[in-house]
């Protein structure tokens, strides 16, 4: 349900230097601006790109966050694969879409 909020946080981090500064200075304070589930908040606190993917974050948002966290391209792809292994299939968002 809060996937929208989670993606909004990452979208703003990707595009707004001010949000990035706040993120670096006090991650907790920035996160309190968004209605995140405990699991989402933990994933952000741990830079857990694999879990963020499973939670439904769109790759077009996630890949920039991963780059910001220092993941090289192939490490980024591997992190998502590890996430699937550890947490099971993508739960929400575009990649979990079941077409009627």
């Amino acid at each position: 349900m809060s996937l929208y909020q989670l993606q909004k946080l990452l979208y703003q981090l990707n595009r707004d230097p001010h949000t990035r500064t706040r993120f670096e200075a006090d991650r907790g304070a920035l996160l309190s601006d968004y209605e995140l589930s405990e699991e989402e908040e933990a994933a952000i606190r741990a830079d857990d790109v694999g879990l963020l993917y499973v939670l439904g974050v769109n790759g077009q948002i996630l890949m920039h966050y991963a780059a910001m966290c220092g993941y090289e391209w192939h490490e980024y792809l591997q992190a998502m694969r590890d996430g699937l292994e550890r947490h099971g299939p993508v739960r929400r968002g575009l990649y979990a879409t079941v077409w009627e």
């Binding site: 990707n14 595009r15 993917y53 769109n58 077009q60 890949m63 780059a67 699937l84 575009l94």
Partner: protein, 287 residues
């Protein structure tokens, strides 16, 4: 004046960002065709380049997502991505607000469109510009079709938007080049990055070259997602260009899957009927 050039190209960030990891032979043939397209555009002496793009949450997000948007600024900036990651330096890109305004007003007669006086270009526009206007001296009119955050505009309405865009272009005095950029099949930024459905891509390009509205608009999003990944939703940019060139035929100058670029790399042009400029190069076929 009118439309003087029309084409489509790929824009994956790997094209510039992961260049050194690609097979040099295929990569260089692809770049060469990008340069051919640059030469073809320059030969038509355009006053502006309209880029129909499929941006990736650089400006537009699910808080307020326009299906269709056009930039209306004197200048833009990009890339929004890390410069080293994308392999393109951040810079200012010229626009033409007055031209944008005239195009938007005309389009609004038949199609709804949002406008934006601020726009940060992401790889979806910067990668094509890197090759097509390397001196960044041609004013750009950015156009966006939401291809990322469903619900997405249906393909037939995308075609209609292309028709409205063409009508607007033909009603301004400037010489306008048009490039659509997106797709084709790909699973960008996911664990399946690098998977490319070449058969699907070639089928799409065949329909695109025929300018066959019905066949182009027959792809359902369900089928596209299954066969061509979420990146396949970006065919909307190609469909819009086909709509803008209704009645014309296209030519594929280059197509090759390049997995590290995460996409079937494509350079194709549409005939522009007026002066017979872009697509009438007899040597234009894929080579």
């Amino acid at each position: 004046m009118s439309l003087v050039f029309a084409g489509v190209c790929s824009h994956g960030p790997g094209i510039t960002g992961r260049s050194e990891q690609a097979d040099p032979a295929v990569r260089d043939a692809f770049y060469e065709n990008f340069h051919r397209m640059r030469d073809a555009i320059e030969a038509t002496r355009p006053d502006a380049l309209v880029v129909v793009a499929a941006e990736h949450f650089a400006n537009f997000f699910m808080n307020n997502m326009p299906s269709l948007a056009i930039g209306m600024a004197e200048h833009y900036e990009g890339p929004i991505e890390d410069e080293a990651w994308l392999g393109i330096e951040r810079r200012r890109i010229p626009g033409n607000a007055a031209l944008s305004k005239r195009l938007i007003e005309r389009i609004m007669r038949t199609s709804d469109v949002a406008y934006a006086e601020e726009w940060l270009f992401d790889h979806g526009i910067m990668v094509p510009l890197h090759f097509l206007t390397p001196r960044y001296d041609l004013p750009i009119v950015p156009v966006n079709i939401n291809c990322q955050g469903p619900p997405l505009i249906p393909l037939d309405r995308t075609w209609e938007f292309g028709c409205a865009l063409r009508e607007a272009i033909d009603n301004v005095p400037e010489r306008i080049a048009l490039v659509g950029t997106g797709g084709l099949s790909h699973w960008p930024a996911t664990p399946d990055s690098g998977v490319i459905n070449e058969a699907w891509d070639r089928e799409f390009l065949e329909r695109w070259c025929l300018g066959d509205r019905e066949a182009l608009c027959a792809f359902t999003d369900e089928e596209t997602y299954r066969e061509a990944g979420q990146g396949g939703f970006e065919i909307r940019t190609h469909v819009a260009v086909a709509g803008a060139c209704a009645g014309s035929k296209g030519r594929v100058w280059f197509y090759a899957p390049i997995p590290i670029f995460a996409v079937g790399c494509t350079i194709a042009t549409m005939e522009v009927s007026e002066a017979g400029l872009a697509g009438n190069d007899p040597s234009g076929d894929e080579r």
